[in-house]
Symmetry: none
Subunit: 214 residues, 4 copies
DNA sequence: AATGAATGAGCTTTCATTCAT
DNA sequence: GATGAATGAAAGCTCATTCAT
């Protein structure tokens, strides 16, 4: 109910007045919050509108139905991932080693890997298999990450061995990160961000001796 | 699908006779099948009984409700995982290296890693966060796998380095496998079992040169 | 059945428009009607909504479930009893004798004692033993009646005998009325309102010679 | 499960063997117990057979269905009432005054008026209105009581006034007793058997001065 | 643009009854 | 005579969606 972020339209009425964009944002936020806290199957229209503080009709008015709202929430969530990833990668020096470790650290940072995001991420992936629209956003996020890491490993292996090795190591690194997120999901209390970075480093250092010294 | 337990009456009816154990099996099987095909939220009592070919009341008669049936299905599914794992590990020679690779190959074998099992596994894990009973079975399966791998790495590192390294490599290996399952879930058509084994081998060979030659 | 509360829009729809209060009233009315005609255990959600002419979801929308609707119906029914009782007592002169006989006549009048109300009353009392909410409304109704009669008998006995006598006669009179309702329930065709009043009068006249002359 | 009361058939197998009469008795007893404790609507076949310790099919085998069992339970319960009433009336001297007070005391005695019987009685009466068979047994019990009291009052009034008076007083007395049972039902803790007898006596003594001295 | 009462298909669950053994 | 696994109609309830205001 706060009035921050009213910039988009200077006019508008009092606090509860007409502001389509604000209603959209509130609904998406409430949806993600509910998914994080209660899971997708408990994320009902009633709970969403209650948390968002808007009326029932809003969802169909602005999104055309609950399914479309879920899609938009998935899109927003995935975009937020690589916006934050880009932000953390902004000041990193250009070397492939530095890039890879920056990506690893960012992916395992508190901003990106936390109980909320891990719950939402797995919830959407559970649905993605049967919902092409949501699968699309998950894939887009994965593809961006894969692209960045893959380029870096190719640069690292430029001089040496065959190209397939870079692809293998890329897939292995992504699998490692994926596995770390899953570990966080299942045992959030036992999880150590530091240990996770260390383990990934160990594997990469073993592949490229002297390059990923822990 | 086995025909054990048919002892009480050698003749037996055509298909819907009186055989509580058979009804239980049919229901659990139909539940897992529905979860694999439609996801957990679409797995309704109506769909389950239709696939199982039994009556509505059966679920409450034998399990006490849909939730209890889901729990039993999760238990059965996890048990089936390590029964098959044990089966594949049966004839393997004793060295830690062989044990580890046998586990990796088994975990990525068609019997354990296929569209059906990957879909069911992720479905249950999606629910596990909010369902302690199902979380218990998932954890049990994970713990067994971790135990076997961890012992092997400790044996491998016995002479050398500190104990923490074995734990790190165990977690890394599990994360790799976990990531492979996720990759299979999201891109079943592009997935290559052979490539997955190769990638895990590459990382382990890098950690233990000469031991996990591809 | 009153048309108060139609203010919001002078026009108003034909019969199923938007009028929460009207829907509530229709549901309570249909519930009481069903209890009177079929008994509580046959009073299903399906029957209620059919009689009320509203949709299934209405009950849970306005009352939060069938049980809550039954409670509200019990409250409404008990309130209606003492609203009518008060109405009939309005013009009665002040003497205790007149008050008591007015209460007796009202309790046995066609407006309060009829097949419908007697059936509903006994139905709710059957449930009250195991349903605290409904027991509360029954008790409230009983307490009001007891209070009025008790005061009157105390006034009547002021000069004479001990206070306990007034309490005894109060309880006796209430028991007599209670018994009359039960008699009406079990033999509605043989019941005579006139005889019932006469019998109560006989007992009271015997207790207070000359005061309750028949 | 005790083996007392095996007299009807000296043969019979071991403790759980075939004894139709025993199963009937156990079922009726369990039915009445369940009605007393949980009310009629909670008295399900499952609960009855559990309490009786017999198999599911028994009810239909011996009674032809749950409704028939309820009828038999109602019959048994009403018969038990006047068997005990007769027992208590056995040694009473012949005068009408003594007879009436003996009936009143018996009806309000712990053997006949207790939480269990009052709950069962009201439960059956709630159903009786819509179940002719049960209504029949209730009526039979009422009629017997009415007959005994009516005869006594006629004897008492033989010399004096008109016959209608005896009928009125009979109905009044029955209504008083009925009201006492209801009072016990709604407020079992506050109820005093002694006070109940005293109140009935007061009313009768007022009607027949010197005859029902308290 | 916004509201929220109203809808009804479909959900899980309960239960008296049946019948092969 | 006795059993209890099996049945399926019907119960109460949930929820995304609609639409008059």
């Amino acid at each position: 109910m706060t009035d921050k972020d009213r910039s988009p339209s200077g006019k508008s009425g009092p606090s509860s007045g007409r502001d389509p964009e604000r209603s959209r944002r509130l609904l998406i936020e409430a949806t993600l919050e509910s998914i994080a806290r209660k899971g997708i199957s408990e994320t009902t229209v009633s709970r969403i509108i209650e948390h968002a503080g808007v009326s029932r009709g809003m969802i169909h008015l602005h999104f055309g139905g609950k399914d479309k709202l879920l899609e938009e929430a998935a899109r927003t969530f995935c975009e937020a991932y690589y916006i934050e990833m880009d932000r953390q990668l902004a000041g990193v020096s250009d070397g492939p080693t530095e890039t890879i470790m920056a990506i690893v650290r960012a992916d395992l940072s508190e901003e990106l890997l936390n109980e909320r995001s891990v719950a939402i991420w797995h919830a959407f992936r559970g649905v993605a298999r049967l919902n092409p629209a949501i699968a699309h956003y998950s894939d887009t996020r994965d593809a961006r990450l894969r692209g960045m890491i893959c380029d870096a490993f190719h640069a690292l292996l430029e001089s040496e061995g065959d190209a397939g090795v870079a692809d293998d190591i890329t897939m292995g690194t992504l699998a490692l990160l994926e596995g770390m997120w899953t570990d966080f999901l299942t045992h959030p209390d036992a999880f150590s961000r530091q240990a996770a970075v260390r383990i990934v480093s160990r594997f990469l250092e073993a592949m490229f001796p002297g390059r990923f010294r822990i």
